[in-house]
Symmetry: D2
């Protein structure tokens, strides 16, 4: 998050709002727009034209597709609908770069995104520039509130694709036998590493249960942004429970592997066990066992030994659930997670103090899960390390209403078959997430940066 | 349910317990055992050896497999574990007729059940007889409480397979271009049919929300039976809502079809829409459109025109959810369903008065969804017509503990990816279901006897 | 077949010609018809209703389907087309029991034959009886020559399905973990077994090459029957070669296995190697390795140890080709095979002395490959033991013309992607095959009774 | 190649022989090497990094893979085996760029070639340069004859990949909804176009049959190159036939389409009909029907209307065979094709006068099938327009011996399941093909530049 936002924060608004808020002057919004858009290009910068073209599985999209699709979002929902007389840069792009908005028309099949060599990365760079120019003009005028909210949605949407871009390129490079790195590793600060060895966290955070409020009040007078799926605020009833103040680590996971965790069906959901057998899983995604029995891991900065002190990452819900059962625990529900996280981070009640953009790509702490000792901003890693699977299936809150129009397809239509994750990951853009944020993936997904923390009934 | 059970009921116990209870004298339990076992054979009786052999899709099991598997359950978990010196009828059966109990050893692959011509139906009949003989001897002795509970579980398990047997044979016969019937149709009582035309149900049942208790207290002193997934009783918090006292009918569904319900992606979950397109769905399972545009339906008693007054049946969760959205409503949650159902059926608070066994196969009311007017026992069809999809994914209640041992695999390991259904269907054995009963299937499943009722937020 | 055939029969030639020809008077043809039809029923007799219903893979058809389909052939092509006023037994059968005749109309999908529990075996028996009755009446009248030829074709067609029935039920029973037998084994005559140990066949049969005639002259004055694909007789040019007078045995195959034949890609065609890896082949179909390293084999008479003296059976073309390469040889071409086979069996020049029907199911020599010593009728096993893969792809002879009408789909439309086999197998009906007979299967097929003999260039 | 070849070159024949032969001095061979290598780079030159990365189906390889694989061939079989002390450029390339040589070791899976973004096109260009440098040094020394033959094989191998590169990139660009062109179209010479309208070819070329010689004598004294599958020269026996002196044109194909050729199963092989239905074929690959019923076609120079005068291209063997049957004809056998082609092109008896390399990419005649009037070099288009499907399955000639060593995997291991094609296509490098050349593809393949000519029995 930037200085200008920090200044805005000093006016007293920051405490309540996210970094993605759309309030303030037109210049503020333009600055914010350009900042987010530049971040995407910065993330793509280390990647060759070839890297940006490959689709390594149907879930993955090519980098250049992410760059184009996020641009198409602004072109379609802002310029196309709110800028009279706007002419699209290329009429074919409406077909190629629509992701899943049925209301907007037919679209190119997702599993075939990797078949498209054209438009190339230079054409897509030009596309981004043209749309950015038009958007800057558009943002300089008096915006209708609906348009303003759509700009903010578009920026949050682009931030989600920034994370997807990193998830996806990690998978693309991981499919290459030569094990290339996305970018070079940076040295870990010795202090942080040392700290991680000495910290002795409390074993459990206890909660007595009772009625609690959860969810986000939505975009209101104060300009806070939230996705529709976080609303409305509502009461829910908790039974007594306890939750761990730390994430499950790779060291703990190694003990699960060593105890035949992947070989014992009684630990697994039936669907999970079927997946283990079909896919041949025996460790988290990106782990490879060496000849001497030790494990190495593919990361965005190359292949290196598994670090027992780090939070485990790239485990599916099936694995997280089986691990919890093995440990005599369970996963927390969304309500439990949100309630405790909020109580432990009072200053940030419903928003997360953003990391500097530089963090994400600049100093090596961001691109793989940070060591537990790296805890100045978030000592219990509620956000910023890995997304955390919950016991809750992803569904609508009581009273949920999807947003109107095509953007109403954003979240609501995925509310079945998926599990909710909470928190945020080291690859989540600074200021994007918050404690009410609801992420979701299929229980078999392993390519998101996802881990877990444990809970128990009391 | 039989006279002897009815008599037991007169002692004052029936009101609190289900037909599957294990209390009473050894003779009572033996009678109950023989009664349930005989029902399975009665259901298989109209089917030829060929009918009993076919598996029409991986989800379906052959009739003779159901007959053998339910027998294997008693042989393995009762005789094998609690009868010293028991010798299995055929050692190969442990492999062939284990369904999914990982703890019991390897097993024959489910999609290959239809490859087994041997053992034939006569050998399976002999297997059933031998195990029944052994069981009668076993039940005549003083049972350890654990064994007693397992017998009751086995009987409830067999009742579930009775319903599965009917679901499955309906699918098998439905895959045959000659459209054979399971058994001949019986004439509908004219009075019931007439009644269905005149009833004017109240439009909505209102509920103010608040904390309510749900779930079953489990098998206790009073001998009531429940599956582990119905426990424990726990409080939950409802927001104000209303629910319909009637099921969605085929007539209403025809309006949905006519309004292009199967052609409009905005009504569907993303996964549901993908399924609609891939599978080419344009109506409920077993509906076929005639040349003149009308619809006929394959039933267990043959093919006949769709009856607009009947509850719609054989729709997937995806379809139920889309229908509810189209109607401006939503599906009820499990908690909402159970709360209202219990309040509307006070006499049956936590159990369902059993239908006479004769109903199921005897008079034609049972084998397909009954007309709405057939409502003496259950005027609002909470049970007895079709299973009702809920908005809730199937998961553990707070504090849920699976049963110990291999039978702990019964329910718990399916608690992801599936949606909960409530109520019961015309093919559910008499006395088997209750208002706390939790059924579950994948959201794409259509071969269960499943329909829906609507709810709305208030 | 025609009047001229009847005359030929009277000249006394019948004794030497194939069992499949229709001889002489209407009564002769009727007798022949009933004899072949009875044989099918005799083959199905040991099988239960369940056995007759199962389809263990798409290539396999249920026994009851074979019984019905061969009946449909007579009903459709004879009664339907040549018997004025004939009414089909059941109009649905035209859809259910058409195998692949596009010209006759739509048909039930082949991989779904195992989904049909109805009609059951009793209905099919009744179907056969009714059609047989009608056919007997039909055959008692003066037949048009075209109809006569179709009857003969139908009988040969039914004989092919008799072999398919045995191939298919062997596969069905082989898919059952309980390893049931089709019928009990009969004791091998000791003399034959002893003979097999002592015979010392000549190593090679040499041929100098040159122009030779091959093929069958077709159905002519002498009444011989042949399929269209065996015609016309034509010259072909051979280069010098030699061929083995014996079949490759299981003992020789064990040496190939022991020499890592299934592990060495250089021995295999590229497509063959891909199949070996994908399917996990490490021995012929139906071989299973025991814990002590020895091999047992599933046969129609049950499971028994592999007999090294027997011809190897149930190997694909890929395996036969790889074996030949490993042995420093190659497979013979069709022309080579036919030329030598004819020269070695002069008395049978273009037809095979039929085995007694009793042989096939009666005395144990027929149902599995006979030992090499069982050689009275055919000391070099050109026919009667296993079909023999050739190096030739199955294609049309120069000047080939398919038969007119729907039966023209019989052979011609399969003339790509398949390899030709020659000879005949122990399960081929007596008198059905001849030295010009061309069988064909995909190079990956293993469920036919197929083996090989070797050839080399000179 | 060898001394004897050098001598042959000095006799003055070189000027007339194929571009693929190695001529004379080391300098000649070096020149030839650099010429062929440069051609590959020239073909890749119009393609972006993105274009060179995409794999549009498993049969297709990315352009950059072709560039690397052909380089790997020289590095492995020449430098690696015949240059003492040679160090591979990158040890990973042995795994990544082996195509199918089992004897050389494990390799990257073919369907995953499109997952490799690294090495990028710049690294591959550097790889090519380094290997070329090493090869130039290697070729400057006295070559062992074996090495000389391998160089020639390597150059012919690279020419095959030049054609594959064009086939593949045509498919890649054809999978893009924006229909990009590989390069701009060049204007057709008006004279040629006019000529095509006026030519009246003789209807049939008659042949009386008899014994003819076919095949290539192999690499001998005269220095001619041939693949092992063209050898040995051998006699074969033809029956009387006639063959068309022209290729089937798009205009003729349109008549086949208009006559419901793709809707009539009686015209098709059974496997072909299955493919038509499964794939939804209704015209050759790359044809698209416009709203007005006319057809356009995707070519390397963009999309344009189908030209009725051009030879039809991109039809599978199934389609070619069905067309021939529809026309009352058949496809010629390999022997028929080679015999007549040789007799019609006496000056070129066993080799093809090479086209200037410039032709291939320079003047627009080469990149799509030329009009029939463009016939100066080959008036009957035996070579140079499209590959021509034959009735012959691809198999070994009598006496065929694969080459020794790993390169023996070149042709022999594909001798099943494929059909032979003869001639050559507009994308075949100049001088690469000859009248004995045997190409082969699966009967369902449509992405090669393949068409047909007709034959009939006499």
């Amino acid at each position: 998050m930037t200085a200008s936002v920090a200044e805005a924060g000093e006016t007293g608004e920051t405490g309540q709002t996210g970094g993605t808020r759309d309030t303030g002057t037109p210049q503020d919004l333009t600055d914010r727009f350009l900042e987010v858009r530049a971040m995407t290009e910065q993330l793509a910068q280390p990647l060759s034209a070839e890297d940006q073209t490959v689709q390594s599985m149907p879930d993955v999209s090519p980098t250049k597709w992410h760059r184009a699709h996020t641009t198409w979002f602004f072109e379609t929902f802002l310029l196309g609908e709110h800028q009279p007389g706007y002419t699209p840069v290329d009429p074919a792009y409406a077909y190629l770069f629509n992701s899943y908005y049925e209301a907007v028309g037919p679209r190119h099949a997702r599993p075939e995104r990797g078949l498209l060599s054209r438009p190339g990365i230079d054409e897509i760079a030009a596309y981004r520039e043209k749309v950015d120019d038009s958007m800057v003009g558009f943002l300089g005028r008096d915006l209708h509130p609906v348009a303003g909210r759509l700009v903010t949605l578009g920026l949050n949407h682009e931030q989600q694709h920034q994370e997807l871009l990193l998830m996806d390129i990690k998978h693309v490079l991981g499919a290459n036998p030569t094990e290339p790195a996305y970018r070079p590793a940076c040295p870990q600060p010795a202090a942080a590493a040392a700290a991680s060895k000495t910290a002795t966290p409390p074993e459990w955070i206890e909660h007595p249960g009772g009625i609690v409020a959860m969810g986000h009040e939505g975009e209101g007078e104060d300009g806070a942004f939230a996705f529709d799926n976080e609303t409305p605020v509502h009461d829910t009833l908790l039974t007594p429970f306890a939750i761990r103040p730390t994430l499950v680590t790779c060291g703990e996971w190694l003990a699960f592997v060593a105890d035949d965790g992947y070989e014992r069906p009684e630990l697994w959901m039936s669907d999970g066990w079927g997946t283990v057998r079909t896919q041949g899983w025996d460790a988290p995604e990106y782990w490879r066992q060496c000849g001497d029995g030790t494990w190495k891991v593919h990361t965005l900065t190359g292949t290196r030994p598994v670090d027992p002190a780090e939070p485990v990452c790239h485990v599916s819900w099936y694995e997280a659930d089986a691990y919890a059962r093995w440990a005599g625990c369970r996963l927390p529900t969304e309500a439990e997670w949100e309630t405790v996280a909020t109580s432990r981070s009072p200053a940030r009640a419903r928003s997360v103090a953003g990391l500097d953009i530089g963090d994400l790509t600049g100093d090596g702490r961001g691109l793989h899960p940070r060591a537990p000792g790296d805890t100045d901003a978030d000592p219990e890693q509620w956000t910023g390390a890995v997304w955390q699977w919950t016991a809750s299936s992803y569904g609508p809150y009581p009273g949920f209403q999807p947003a109107a129009g095509a953007v109403g397809e954003y979240n609501g239509k995925f509310m079945v078959n998926q599990q909710a994750l909470r928190g945020g990951a080291c690859v989540t853009p600074a200021g994007h997430t918050r404690l009410t944020y609801r992420n979701f993936f299929y229980p078999s997904s392993r390519w998101p940066f996802c881990g877990l923390r444990l809970a128990v009934d009391r």
